[in-house]
Amino acid sequence: MLRVAGVTKAYGEHPVLRGVDLDVAAGQILGLVGANGAGKTTLISIITGLRRCDGGSVAVGGVDALDHPKRVAGSLGLAPQELGIYPTLTARENLYDFARLAGMSRWAARTRTADVADLLDLTEQLGLRGDQLSGGQKRRLHTAMAILHRPRLLLLDEPTVGADVTSRAGILEIVRAMAAADTAVLYTTHYLTELEQLDAEIAVLDGGVVAVRGSCREVILRWGTASVALRFSGPAPELAGWTADGSRLAPSQPVADPGAAAAAALVALGPQVTRLVGVDVTRPSLESAYLAITGRAFSEEAESDLAA
């Protein structure tokens, strides 16, 4: 459904995309992850015709999206990263008007507005203005506006930022339902657990290219690492093969079995173990795989996003 080949893009002298190749089949969910500034939003903007690329090709349903952006626009559903709703219009007006803009008849737009509101648990809020909705409701409305016309390719750019637990679950449910209905979904997020919940295919955008691609399971098996850290009251003791950092003590090299490594360390520490206050064990996960691939502290990025 979506085929991106060799897409390049630079902002002035700063290259962001250096030759991105990816494809998303009908019914597939592709989770596109990468650091802030990796080019995820730029890539989505290029696919939707909002930005021009410097080179490469983009095809949606076999149609050249770069040469004919308006021909493919009807097949696309976009929920941009920034919230995009009309705060002075009601939720119903937001939905209905975008359904009409997508070319639906009055009757179809009215029916689909009610259906999508029901899907995203917004029926009771249909009469409320955008600025009267809660943060999670706004986020759901924002997503609903992208799926009104049953797009064949759905582009969701960090759709759950600012959403509460219930709203997030609702959005993920809709993504699953859309994929089940044969929609191709390109989903960017910093919340990697969402991709595990969606059992999405993963593409890691790093250094301007898709550095790694595979299923969640494949990526975790190939790149995921386990870790263990011992926490002490006061400075951490010295132990061969382990590195002390303040009150924390962690293996100097990655360990295959964190439980066994911790047990061995506790035996070796002898009486100093009485100062032990906690043991942190991390199993192989998408997050640890991501960290291994990109070498960056993912959690710091997510925190900076939330702060922003």
Binding site: Y86, T88, R100, M145
Partner: protein
């Protein structure tokens, strides 16, 4: 003809206008509040100019209509810039609507609002303030239609040229006041200082008021206002060309909510 996509965008813009009608109400109410204060002086000026039976409303009502039509162009800027502030601009651009569909769809309700503003002011002016268009009412409608179209083109040009909403509003209001004042909206051009009379012709307001004055005071019909209307059309085309040349859909615009 307006395309279905433009109509869909117009529906949104129309709703946005109606969801916050205060600016529209102000641009209609304010001239009606000001009119009674200005009518006596205008009557004296017209009588001095040789129109013995003219009422002050014949000068004041078209003048205020033109002045506040200029000021209401800020609604165009507001509608465009708020799309950026609300994050909906990219949604519109990613839709099947072309840039032309979006621009036409956004300004169409504003154009109708301008015409409605003219209609209300001239009608209430006739009922309450002695505005008597003795010439062709059809000609008056044509002048209003062309002038409103020119103003919309002027407003879109400001949107195209200004990176921020504040800049567009300041330039729109300042430019509107200067052009309206210079064109004779506040006092007849003949009563302005010599330097102002010399440059009055560069203001589209001058030609709009010249046409309205011909209809109101000199019984003109459509042929009598063809010249000024043609010049207004030229202004509109000029503004439109600059707007089309400078309008960048992907440009970053800073609006406020």
């Amino acid at each position: 003809m307006i395309s279905p996509r433009s109509l869909a965008v117009s529906r949104i813009s129309g709703r946005l206008l109606l969801s916050d009608p205060a600016p529209m109400i102000v641009t209609i109410a304010m001239p009606l509040i000001l009119a009674p204060f200005l009518v006596p002086a205008a009557r004296a000026q017209l009588q001095l100019a040789g129109y013995a039976t003219a009422g002050g409303g014949d000068q004041v009502i078209p003048g205020l209509a033109v002045l506040f039509a200029f000021l209401s162009t800020q609604l165009v800027g507001t509608l465009f810039f708020r799309e950026h502030a609300w994050g909906t601009w990219d949604r519109l651009r990613a839709s099947p609507a072309s840039t032309a569909d979006i621009v036409v769809g956004k300004v169409a309700p504003l154009y109708l609002a301008q015409l409605a503003q003219f209609g209300v002011l001239l009608t209430v002016g006739a009922l309450l303030f002695g505005f008597r268009p003795d010439g062709s009412v059809a000609a008056l409608a044509v002048v209003a239609a062309v002038f409103a179209a020119m103003l919309v083109a002027y407003a879109v040009m400001l949107v195209a040229l200004c990176p921020t909403m504040d800049m567009a509003l300041v330039l729109g209001n300042l430019g509107g006041m200067v052009m309206a004042g210079l064109g004779g909206a506040l006092a007849p051009v003949s009563s302005l200082p010599q330097w102002a009379q010399a440059v009055a012709h560069i203001s589209p307001a001058y030609w709009a008021l010249d046409a309205m004055r011909s209809i109101t005071l000199d019984h003109a019909g459509l042929p009598g206002v063809a010249g000024p209307v043609g010049i207004l059309l030229l202004f509109g085309v000029g503004f439109g060309v600059v707007a089309a040349w400078r309008f960048r859909p992907a440009a970053v615009k800073i609006g406020t909510t």
